[in-house]
Symmetry: C2
Subunit: 133 residues, 2 copies
């Protein structure tokens, strides 16, 4: 049940990203969440994360679509590690289609009131080990 | 400072594993920790995790050595996602050397008294996405 709630939260967050409803997206992040924008570039807190989503949307000319058709959830009490295959699609400025697949890692905590909130959003997964520390 | 404490805890846990001091190893796990033994096979709680380490040690004829020369730490408050390149070496029953490299994912929480404790120990990292759910 709890795992299904978490899967629902991830799917709802992706749907909100895809329609660029970033106020809704922010409801799935904890106040002190961190997001790995690129290896070595990190957004901390809701203000920076919201701004990061706005910039990403602009970068992709408002065409980015995220789907995570496959997930594994590892839970310990109110903390969960989510492993997901993230499929990203967009159309670039020159009209060319763009796509990428990532193996993402997220850490969520369950808040008694707000439900599952993302604390650590690292869509690069263990590929960060290949980037400079 | 806090990140260095976490790196020290991981190194100390590895050293304890390598000398098969599993009581010491258990000090680095939270009471409700979970360990992915193999894809689909999970140990929960200190009793099961201690027993898992004993079986792993036997499987490798008490020769297993773990080193994690490279790590990335992503922190949000008292929660951290650790990404590590884990190098495992052992000598098998037939005297042949065995080795493996994994890209591991761990979730730690900082306890005010006990310091950083592992909640989720998944040495398979995002490779779990390749295994049956």
């Amino acid at each position: 049940m709890s795992e299904q709630e978490l899967r629902n939260a991830v799917a709802a967050a992706d749907a909100a990203i895809n329609r660029e409803d970033f106020e809704q997206v922010m409801r799935f992040y904890a106040d002190d969440a961190m997001l790995v924008l690129q290896p070595g570039m990190i957004a901390r807190g809701k203000e920076q994360i919201r701004e990061a989503f706005r910039r990403i949307a602009e970068h992709f000319h408002h065409s980015l679509q995220v789907h995570q058709p496959e997930m594994r959830v590892l839970m310990s009490g109110d903390t969960a590690l989510v492993l997901a295959r993230a499929e990203l699609r967009a159309v670039l400025g020159d009209g060319q289609p763009w796509q990428a697949t990532r193996r993402s890692t997220y850490v969520f905590r369950r808040d008694p009131q707000a439900g599952w909130l993302c604390l650590i959003d690292n869509s690069y997964g263990t590929d960060l080990l290949d980037a400079p520390a």
